[in-house]
Symmetry: C2
Subunit: 252 residues, 2 copies
């Protein structure tokens, strides 16, 4: 039962994982929007490490699908397509059904208290920024996964939840997290009660409505497929002078 120092499953060294955690959080709080550039030296300078470490961290995040690495190009925060977002949610639903199935009726009193405390925090954050709400809502699900004591499940649920988070910045309108809090409370109650089928259904519908609230329509306004976006404008290109391309300003 040797106390495993810092290394979970992946997360090689300390400095690398610190940078990973920081970037992950920045991404899910939308401080770093999809498409934001992540040059190695800037990261290294900012975190007080060399490019080698920054590079390694970017590699890890790329493996998680949070950043995109292109050869000889600056790494950018990933920009999932609408379809990928929908797929991510479908996977997440299945994984989290597994989580609650394992947890139903098996939670200790202190665990239930912990969950309730977390939802209270979500409640308090309702007036604050969207970023905090989204992060807390995601962390609720990750907290659940942790309670399964299954490292693999924790890893996959975390990863896919972060990815879903990422899509929220892309396709979601603000203030779509409001009602999720009640659904979280309902989940806790059902978990405590211990009805497997019921709680799996609850989770399923909860995530499904989160997805539906988020992925309002398959119109990736800011999505990556700008060729398709520009298709409607293609006619006018030949006719008149084109308005200045609406190149999104990525950096303030």
């Amino acid at each position: 039962m040797a106390a495993r120092p810092t290394s979970k499953t992946s997360e090689s060294s300390d400095k690398v994982s610190v940078i990973c955690r920081a970037l992950r959080r920045a991404i899910i709080e939308q401080a770093l929007e999809p498409g934001a550039k992540l040059p190695e030296d800037s990261l290294g300078e900012r975190f007080g490490v060399s490019r080698t470490i920054a590079r390694h961290a970017l590699g890890q995040l790329a493996a998680e699908g949070l950043v995109e690495l292109r050869r000889n190009r600056i790494a950018v925060v990933a920009t999932p397509s609408w379809q990928e977002a929908r797929d991510a949610f479908d996977i997440r639903i299945q994984l989290e059904r597994l989580v609650v199935r394992q947890l139903a009726g098996k939670l200790t009193k202190s665990q239930i208290a912990e969950l309730n405390a977390h939802v209270d925090a979500e409640d308090r954050a309702r007036g604050g920024t969207d970023a905090a709400s989204i992060r807390l809502a995601t962390e609720f699900h990750i907290l659940l996964a942790h309670m399964t004591n299954s490292p693999i499940l924790v890893r996959y649920v975390s990863e896919v939840a972060y990815r879903c988070c990422l899509t929220l910045s892309l396709y979601s309108r603000p203030h779509s997290t409001e009602c999720a809090i009640n659904e979280h409370r309902a989940l806790i109650a059902a978990l405590a009660k211990g009805d497997e089928a019921k709680v799996m259904d609850l989770m399923h519908h909860h995530l499904d409505s989160v997805a539906n609230r988020a992925l309002v329509a398959p119109t990736p306004q800011r999505g990556r497929d700008l060729l398709d976006i520009l298709a409607p404008y293609a006619d006018e290109v030949t006719s008149d002078r084109v308005v200045k391309l609406p190149k999104v300003a990525r950096r303030g």
Copy 2:
């Protein structure tokens, strides 16, 4: 429509991904057993690259759960516990149910032909080494995942399938892959017929029986928790001189 050169989603550069692929394959073919040491210099020397690249590759594989990285220690091929193996299979079942749900009745003729050809290859490999059989059986599932055209699903199914493969070397007896081939054929037939529920059930039971054939008993004879393994012998330690510790020979 620039042809994306080699980079899929993760897999930063070429050299790194080459090493990753080679190691992955070596691991699932059991050329590298769980616990096998993977020193950075040896890898670098073997693949003709510097430690930097070998290190990066190890980082990626660690992110996939195939190798374990411990600070200041030589990286080793991962040694999942029995419980982790069971969890991996549970996750895999859910993910692959998703795969066949998306695929049921939507496969083209050429895709079905491709699947049949693969199973034929599995059949031919039946006389050969276990390693080849296991690899082909795993690749059948990954091939299915690819046909969903969902990069995320491909990634997760591949990862978890490799992890399951890894556990096969740990807990499975040889020749447990025999009957899987028929189940693969049944899956293809059901997919072609297009009955979603039926095919999901088939996949569920197929993977469940693979898991049951593989994870024969929760007795990790070669598992990592050697403290538990030695527990029964602890009594004798005090009484008589101990026989030479059965330290498993990891390297030929």
